[in-house]
C-alpha cells in the first residue's frame, strides 16, 4: 500500500471530491486483493474511441501523418501550430508574435480557410473567418495525446472545409495523465510559461484540470507582445462497462499588442467551449456516439487612427463574435467481418456578430443539416474499398454532396497501393458572403465613409476534386513506414477578394475569381532504426498553375493591376517543403533531438508578401530524472541553432513600407515535474 504524503493540490482535489460525495481512492482499494474468480469475468469499460475509430494506415482511404506523444516530446515545437511543420506540405508562419498561421500547399493569407480542425471530434475552426485562430484555442502541448493529419480532401468523413486537409487533435485522457504535473518555461523574447495539471480518479469518474499561462514579447523590434491565460477541464465517466460519457470544457483569454492592418493597438481574444459526448457499445457489432458542443469566440477591435496619406481621422470596427452549436449522432456497425459502416447525421448553427465587419447590428446565422455514410469493405484479404459520402444542406448556400472513393491493395506483405478520388467544398466565410467592412471618417462630415471589404451574398462554395495514388511500405528491418503520395488537385470557383472599380471607393469584393490546379508528390518516412532512436522525414514537392482576378473595372472585366491580372497562383505555393526530425535517447535519462526545416520561397496573399526561402535547424536536449515519487524533466530547446535569421512573414502596406517578422535564434529552458 502506498502511504506517501499527498501533494497539497491533490489533497485539495480529494477533499472537494469527498465533500461532494464522490468515491475517492482509499487504502481499502489498495488492499483489494481478496481476489476471486469474479475478477476474471467482471465486464470492463470498453475503450471504444480508441479501438473502433482508428483505421490502420494500410486500410485508410487517405494519406495520414500521425504526430504522437513521442514526436511531440522530441520536437522543438513550443506550441500546437508549430507541430504541423512535421507534416509533409504544411507551412507554418507567424503573422505576429501570437498569431500562428498554418496552411497546406501554400496559397493562404492571414486566415487560411481550407482546412478542417477537430479537437476530440469537435470542429474548432472559427466560423467567422473559416480559419483556425490557434492563439484562441484552449489547449496546451501537454494536453495532446496525438495529432492525426489527413492530407487531402476528406469532406465525406469530416464535412465541408475538410478541403485540403484535416487536422484531428486527440487530447490525453484524464485517466492517462499523472496526478500532478507542473511545468515552467523561460526563454528568448521574455518567453515565460507556467502550467499546472491535476488529475484524479473517483471510481468510474476521472477528472483532469489544466491551468496555464504563456506570454512573450513577440518578434524583435515589433509591437506584438502577448500573454495568454487558459483553463481546461476534461472528464470521463463510465457508468457501465458499455458507456462512456466525456465532458470537456475550456476557456482562454489572450491579450496582445498588434500592428496588423497597420495600426498599433491593444487587442484581445476571448474564447471558450463546452463539449459533451456519450459513447455506447451495443453488443460486439454496434456502437453509438452522440456529441453536442458549443464554441464561442470574441475579439473586440475598434480602431481609430489618422490616415498618413489624407490626414483624416478614421475609424474601423473589426470586432467579431462567433458561436457554433453542434449536435451529431453517429452509428458504427460491423455487419460482417469484412464490413464496417459508419453513418449518422448532424445539425449545426453558426452565429456571427460584427457590427463593423458586416455593417449590421443583427446576428448572422447559418444553419447546417447533414447526413453521412462511410463504408469500409474488405473485398479480399488484400483489397479494401472505402466509399463515403457527405450530404450537407446549408441555410444560405444550398445543398452539397461530397463523395470519396478509395481502393487499397496489398500486392505483397508490407506493401500497400492506394488510389482515391474525392470531391469537397469549402463554404464561403461570413465575411465572403455578408462582409461590409466600412471605414468611418471621423470629424470631417463632408468626407464620405468608404467600404473597404465587401462580401457578395450569392457566392457559391469553392470546390475541389482531389485525386491521389499512394504507396505505403512497411520495412520491418528498420522498423519504418515509408509513405509516398502523388496528388492532383483541382480547385474551381476559387473565392478571392478583387478590387471592384464598379463600386464607389473601389472596395475589395469577394467573388469567384479563378481556379488552381496543383500537382505534387509527398514523401513521409517514419523510422525507428533502434528502440532508442527515431527519424521522421516529411517532404513535399508541389507545382501549381492557374490564377485569379485581382481587379475588375466598372464593366466587370479584368482591369490592369500591378500584381498581374489574373495573378498567377504559382508563387503562392512553395515548391519544396522539408522537415527532418531525428531523436535519440542517450541513456541515463538523456535525450537529444535535432530538426531541420526548409520551405521554398513563397508569396503570402492578402496582407502578406513574398517571403524568401526559410531554413532553420533546431536542437533540443532533455534529461529526465526518475524518482520514486515522480519525475523531473529538464530541457533546453534551441530554435534556429546557427542563428541564421530568416523572415517568417512580411507584408507591404499601401505606402510600400515593408514590415517583417525576423526569426532569429530562440532559446527555451523548461522544467517539468510530475508527481504520481
Amino acid at each position: 500500500m502506498n502511504n506517501k504524503i499527498l501533494p497539497p493540490f491533490r489533497l485539495a482535489l480529494l477533499c472537494i471530491a469527498a465533500a461532494i460525495g464522490l468515491p475517492t481512492p482509499s487504502a481499502a482499494d489498495d488492499a483489494a486483493f481478496a481476489m476471486t474468480e469474479a475478477d476474471f469475468f467482471t465486464p470492463l469499460p470498453t475503450v471504444l474511441s480508441a479501438t473502433r475509430l482508428v483505421q490502420p494506415l494500410t486500410d485508410a482511404p487517405v494519406a495520414m501523418t500521425v504526430i504522437d506523444r513521442e514526436m511531440i516530446d522530441a520536437s522543438s515545437a513550443v506550441n500546437v501550430a508549430d507541430l504541423l511543420r512535421l507534416v509533409p506540405g504544411f507551412q507554418v508562419t507567424y503573422t505576429e508574435g501570437i498569431d500562428a498561421v498554418t496552411t497546406y500547399q501554400g496559397y493562404a493569407d492571414h486566415f487560411p480557410r481550407r482546412m478542417q480542425v477537430l479537437v476530440d471530434g469537435r470542429s474548432a475552426y472559427n466560423p467567422g473567418i473559416n480559419g483556425m485562430v490557434w492563439s484562441a484555442l484552449p489547449l496546451t502541448l501537454s494536453d495532446i495525446e496525438r495529432i492525426e493529419v489527413v492530407r487531402g480532401a476528406n469532406a465525406a468523413a469530416y464535412g465541408s472545409n475538410a478541403f485540403l486537409g484535416t487536422i484531428n487533435i486527440v487530447t490525453r485522457s484524464p485517466e492517462s495523465v499523472d496526478h500532478v504535473t507542473a511545468r515552467g518555461m523561460a526563454g528568448s523574447e521574455h518567453a515565460r510559461e507556467a502550467e499546472l495539471n491535476l488529475a484524479e480518479r473517483f471510481g468510474p469518474l476521472a477528472l483532469s484540470a489544466t491551468a496555464a499561462y504563456a506570454g512573450n514579447d513577440g518578434f524583435p523590434h515589433k509591437y506584438d507582445g502577448n500573454a495568454s491565460r487558459m483553463f481546461t477541464l476534461r472528464s470521463a465517466y463510465h457508468p457501465t462497462s458499455l458507456d462512456t460519457v466525456t465532458f470537456n470544457a475550456g476557456v482562454r483569454e489572450t491579450d496582445f499588442d498588434s500592428e496588423s492592418f497597420r495600426v498599433p493597438r491593444k487587442r484581445e481574444y476571448r474564447a471558450h467551449y463546452q463539449q459533451l459526448v456519450w459513447e455506447h457499445v451495443i453488443g460486439d457489432k454496434h456502437d453509438i456516439r452522440i456529441q453536442a458542443f458549443h464554441n464561442a469566440f470574441k475579439s473586440p477591435d475598434n480602431v481609430t487612427f489618422t490616415d498618413p496619406g489624407s490626414g483624416l481621422l478614421l475609424n474601423v470596427d473589426y470586432s467579431l463574435e462567433t458561436h457554433r452549436y453542434d449536435l451529431e449522432i453517429q452509428h458504427r456497425w460491423s455487419p460482417a467481418d469484412d464490413w464496417r459502416i459508419s453513418w449518422g447525421g448532424g445539425l449545426r448553427n453558426d452565429t456571427v456578430r460584427g457590427a463593423g465587419v458586416f455593417d449590421s447590428d443583427q446576428d448572422l446565422h447559418r444553419d447546417l443539416a447533414r447526413l453521412f455514410a462511410n463504408i469500409e469493405w474488405h473485398l479480399r484479404q488484400d483489397v479494401t474499398l472505402n466509399a463515403g459520402i457527405m450530404a450537407e444542406h446549408y441555410s444560405d448556400t444550398g445543398r452539397f454532396y461530397s463523395p470519396r472513393l478509395a481502393l487499397n491493395w496489398q500486392p505483397a506483405d508490407h506493401h500497400t497501393l492506394r488510389v482515391s478520388a474525392a470531391r469537397a467544398y469549402r463554404m464561403p466565410t461570413f465575411l465572403e458572403t455578408h462582409g461590409e467592412l466600412k471605414v468611418d471618417v471621423l470629424l470631417t462630415p463632408t468626407a464620405p465613409d468608404a467600404i473597404e471589404l465587401l462580401g457578395t451574398a450569392d457566392n457559391g462554395a469553392e470546390r475541389i476534386h482531389s485525386y491521389e495514388i499512394g504507396y505505403l511500405v512497411d520495412v520491418p528491418a528498420i522498423n519504418g513506414v515509408i509513405d509516398l503520395r502523388l496528388f492532383h488537385n483541382e480547385v474551381t470557383r476559387l473565392l478571392y477578394e478583387m478590387e471592384d472599380e464598379g463600386l464607389p471607393g473601389d472596395p475589395f469584393r469577394f467573388d469567384e475569381a479563378g481556379s488552381i490546379r496543383t500537382n505534387g508528390i509527398e514523401v513521409q518516412a517514419h523510422v525507428r532504426p533502434t528502440p532508442n532512436s527515431l527519424l521522421h522525414l516529411a517532404y513535399a514537392y508541389a507545382k501549381a498553375e492557374g490564377g485569379y482576378i485581382t481587379k475588375i473595372d466598372a464593366n466587370g472585366n479584368p482591369a490592369p493591376s500591378r500584381s498581374g491580372n489574373p495573378r498567377s497562383v504559382d508563387p503562392s505555393v512553395p515548391e519544396h517543403t522539408l522537415t527532418l526530425l531525428g531523436s535519440t535517447k542517450l541513456g541515463d535519462g538523456w535525450q537529444l533531438s535535432g530538426t531541420v526545416y526548409y520551405v521554398s520561397p513563397m508569396e503570402w496573399l492578402g496582407e502578406g508578401d513574398f517571403v524568401d526561402s526559410q531554413s532553420r535547424v533546431d536542437s533540443k536536449l532533455s534529461k529526465r530524472i526518475r524518482h520514486e515519487t515522480g519525475d523531473i524533466e529538464l530541457s533546453l530547446n534551441v530554435q534556429n541553432l546557427f542563428n541564421d535569421p530568416y523572415w517568417e512573414f512580411t507584408s507591404t502596406d499601401i505606402d510600400d513600407n515593408v514590415s517583417g517578422n525576423l526569426a532569429e535564434r530562440r532559446v527555451y529552458a523548461q522544467v517539468k515535474v510530475s508527481l504520481r
Binding site: 489498495d30 475478477d39 476474471f40 475503450v47 510530475s674 504520481r676
Partner: protein, 325 residues
C-alpha cells in the same frame, strides 16, 4: 477489502428452512448412470445462485454423463451458502467433494473434514490463502486453478504479436508473487522482460514508462492493477502507444485487449469431470495446478487497428493447441 459475503447468525427458523432446502437439493441429486451402494458419489459445492458456478456444475455433469460407460458417478449439487453443519450433512457420504469458486472453497476448507476435496474454479491467490489458513497437508486435497500458466500466455503473445521482442508487465502486490515464474517463462521464449511495480493508486506513471520501452504488454491477474476503474486507462494508454495487450480474461478482450487466453466455466467444468474420473479410477487426486483446457479470445478490431496478423478465436486456439506441451 474483504469480498466474502457476510453471513448473519442464523435464526432457528432460518436454519430449519435451509435444512429443508438442503434435503430438497439432495433429493434432486443428478445421478449420472446407475446409482447404487457402490456408486461413486461426488458433491459439487458452490453458490447455486451464481450463474457461472451453475454453468461449471452443468458442464461437470454433462461431461461425466458423456464419459459414463461402465462406471458412473452420482453427482449432488450442494449450495455453499448453507450453514456449515448442513453442508457437513450434505457431503457426509460422498467420495469426493468438488468446490466451485473461492467462497465454496473457503467454506469447505474451514470445515474439518477428511473427505478428499478438489478446490476448483478459483484463482491461484485464493488457493494460496486457503492453504495457508485452513488446509493441513495431511488432508487429501487438490486444486484446479482458473489462472493460466504464464507459458501459455506467453505462447499466445508470440502468436498474436510475432514481431515483439520486448515484453512488458505491470506487477502489483498479488502478481508480484509470480515474478520468478514470469522471468523464467519470458527467458524461455527469448523475450526481453521489463517489469514495472505498481499499486492501485499509482498505475499511470509506471505504465507510461513501460509502454515506451516494450512491444507488448502482458496482463497478469491482479485486482489492484486490472479492475473496473483502471482497465480503461490502461487499455487507452497502451493503445495510444500502439502496444497490444495480452489479457487474462474474455472481458479484457471485449474492453480492448488484443487477445487473451482464459478458462471459461465450461472449460473448467469439463476438466473437473476429467479429474473426478481420474480420481474414481486411481483413488489419487492430480496435483494442484492450472488446467489443461482453455479458450482463446481475440479482438479483431484491435488486431486490425494495430496492424497485427488477423486471427479468429478458433484459428488461435488451434495454433495454441498445436504449441501446447
Amino acid at each position: 477489502m474483504d469480498r466474502r459475503p457476510k453471513r448473519s447468525p442464523a435464526s432457528l427458523t432460518y436454519r430449519i428452512v435451509r435444512l429443508a432446502v438442503a434435503m430438497l437439493i439432495a433429493a434432486l441429486s443428478v445421478t449420472v448412470g446407475a446409482g447404487g451402494d457402490d456408486a461413486f458419489r461426488v458433491a459439487l459445492v458452490g453458490s447455486t445462485e451464481d450463474q457461472r458456478t451453475v454453468t461449471v456444475m452443468s458442464a461437470v455433469e454433462a461431461a461425466l454423463a458423456d464419459a459414463c460407460a461402465t462406471h458412473c458417478a452420482v453427482v449432488t449439487r450442494v449450495d455453499a451458502t448453507l450453514a456449515t453443519s448442513d453442508l457437513e450433512r450434505a457431503v457426509a457420504a460422498v467420495d469426493l467433494v468438488v468446490t466451485i469458486g473461492s467462497h465454496a472453497g473457503q467454506v469447505m476448507a474451514q470445515a474439518a473434514r477428511k473427505t478428499p476435496t478438489l478446490y476448483a474454479f478459483l484463482p491461484r491467490v485464493a488457493w494460496d490463502e486457503l492453504q495457508t489458513c485452513c488446509l493441513p497437508p495431511t488432508r487429501p486435497f487438490s486444486a484446479l486453478l482458473i489462472d493460466q500458466p504464464l507459458q501459455r500466455q506467453i505462447a499466445l503473445t508470440r502468436l498474436v504479436v510475432p514481431q515483439a521482442t520486448r515484453l512488458g508487465v505491470l506487477l502489483g502486490e498479488v502478481s508480484s508473487e509470480r515474478r520468478d515464474e514470469l522471468e523464467d517463462a519470458a527467458r524461455a521464449r527469448g523475450y526481453r522482460l521489463t517489469v514495472e511495480q505498481a499499486s492501485a493508486d499509482d498505475i499511470g506513471a509506471g505504465l507510461r514508462r513501460l509502454v515506451q520501452d516494450v512491444d507488448v504488454l502482458l496482463a497478469l491477474p491482479d485486482p489492484a492493477i486490472y479492475n473496473r476503474s483502471t482497465a480503461y486507462s490502461i487499455l487507452l494508454t497502451t493503445y495510444s502507444a500502439r502496444v497490444p495487450v495480452i489479457g487474462f480474461s474474455e472481458a479484457m478482450v471485449k474492453a480492448g485487449a488484443a487477445a487473451a487466453v482464459h478458462a471459461t466455466p465450461k472449460d473448467v467444468g469439463r476438466e473437473v469431470a476429467q479429474r473426478i474420473d481420474t480420481f474414481r479410477r486411481t483413488g489419487q487426486l492430480q496435483p494442484a495446478g492450472y488446467g489443461d483446457l482453455f479458450s482463446v479470445s481475440v479482438n479483431r478490431e484491435v488486431l486490425r487497428s494495430l496492424q497485427l496478423p488477423d486471427f479468429s478465436d478458433d484459428d488461435l486456439l488451434r495454433s495454441m493447441e498445436r504449441m501446447a506441451p
